[in-house]
Point group: C2
Chain length 245, copies 2
DNA sequence: TTGCCATTAAGTGTTGACAGTTGTCGGTTC
DNA sequence: GAACCGACAACTGTCAACACTTAATGGCAA
């Protein structure tokens, strides 16, 4: 399950537990095995991984910094829940950064990279025809990732996925609108064109709008939900004082 | 020096050591007490703060995540050094985020906040006349901070200073060009105008350029330095083995 | 002297234990 | 029956100790 050198208890110090645990917790959050609001039981988790609490705490402390966990004095670490306000804030930040990525990429993107994006767009078209939402979702993520990577800005390449991961902690997950796939891929095509022409400002504007369009869809989904759900009320009295938008 | 409840050893658990230590190390880096490349001696630091190594390690792990420290297996934590490439990358990211902050702020900034910015600009003019570089530096930082705060984007408010802090880890510090103060404040005035007119795109463009102008000055300083310094060579073969001060 | 190897001191990575806090459960009182 | 109270269990925050690695030192051979 973990075991850095497949070593039961005695450790030839070839790797630290901490990054492994960190990735493991990230994975558990990613798969929904750990869901928003739940507490991390240090002892149990340590036991389950066959190690002691020290490294687990260090990993949690790291995850707290990147926004996946939060800590409460004498109560430990909790999987963060992202409020509506925070989710919207994250969209704005991502829009800005993604635009920046595009501006930078436009100037230096290689033909190979352009070809890669083109292929992804083609694959997404196919996924739309199928229709195969899951595949589209994956390809779409990959498209975004490749644009960021093309910027050759290492810090950005590191930072951008963190913001996306944090967004996944929003209460209701999987807000994919099947109807939006086609327009979304149209936007991808426009973006690709701008990148092809080394049009930095154009690409930046398009990429920014691409994310903001996602934000708008997100908002619409929220409104639909709250209309359907017969007013969810002030549920969850503890936690998240969040003015929620 | 630390002591969360002025308590020598027995702890009425009213606050955790970790955030305190974290801030303490941040402070030490900020003041230059800890300089780039130096190793953090966990035992010594713990002893000096009158606590054990556990909390110190947790704090270091957190600081690693935000980019102020890096870790090396079996050698512990080191104060990070930011390469020229990374510094330039950071400028680009800050430019994008600062622009975003401006776009958001323009829509919602209050007259009180505008007044605050105006006063800062006035104070900076005075500092230029003096001339008082240190004061200008502080006021300038405050101006930037207030623009970001006006965006009301909490995540951005949290993120932006982290990037600035990381930039301070660049090898040579204090790259302030006295000559640039006047043009810099002129840019501030243009920014303020755009914000006053709720011109989001205009403010965004100006703010972005403001940071990129800083980047350009930064670059020029580098070139000047490397010209004067008799060619430093392909420095940084890969991360200072650092003889630890 | 110079280069190499064993020795050793210094310091990290991890553990297990302890003290203190939070929350729960049953009993008691109103 | 509901509100309060105290004991108990579960768990966090911190510590001290141990195992292991790194790098510094000194002796020895060439």
């Amino acid at each position: 399950m973990l075991r850095p050198a497949a070593n039961p208890a005695r450790t030839p110090r070839t790797a630290s537990f901490v990054p492994l645990i960190q990735r493991e917790i990230e994975r558990m959050i990613g798969t929904g095995e750990l869901t928003g609001g739940t507490r991390i039981n240090e002892s149990t988790l340590a036991l389950r991984l066959g190690i002691s609490r020290g490294p687990v705490r260090e990993a949690c402390r790291a995850l707290e910094q990147i926004g996946l966990l939060r800590s409460e004095l004498n109560r430990g670490f909790f999987v963060r829940e992202v409020s509506t306000k925070e989710a919207l804030d994250l969209y704005d930040i991502r829009a800005g950064l993604f635009g920046t990525a595009g501006r930078l990429s436009a100037a230096i993107i290689t033909t190979v990279q352009l070809r890669g994006l083109e292929e992804l767009i083609g694959a997404m078209d196919a996924a739309i025809e199928a229709p195969d939402i899951a595949t589209f979702y994956t390809l779409n993520n990959e498209f975004h990732r490749q644009v960021v990577v093309a910027s050759d800005n290492d810090k950005l390449i590191e930072l951008y996925p963190l913001l996306e991961a944090e967004l996944h902690l929003f209460r209701r997950r999987g807000l994919v609108l099947p109807g939006s796939m086609r327009t979304s891929n149209d936007e991808h095509k426009a973006i690709l064109d701008a990148l092809r022409q080394s049009d930095g400002t154009g690409a930046a504007r398009l990429l920014e709008r691409h994310i903001l369009a996602g934000k708008a869809r997100f908002l619409r989904t929220l409104e639909d939900d709250s209309a359907t759900e017969a007013r969810p009320g002030p549920l969850d009295p503890r936690q998240s004082r969040s003015k929620d938008r």
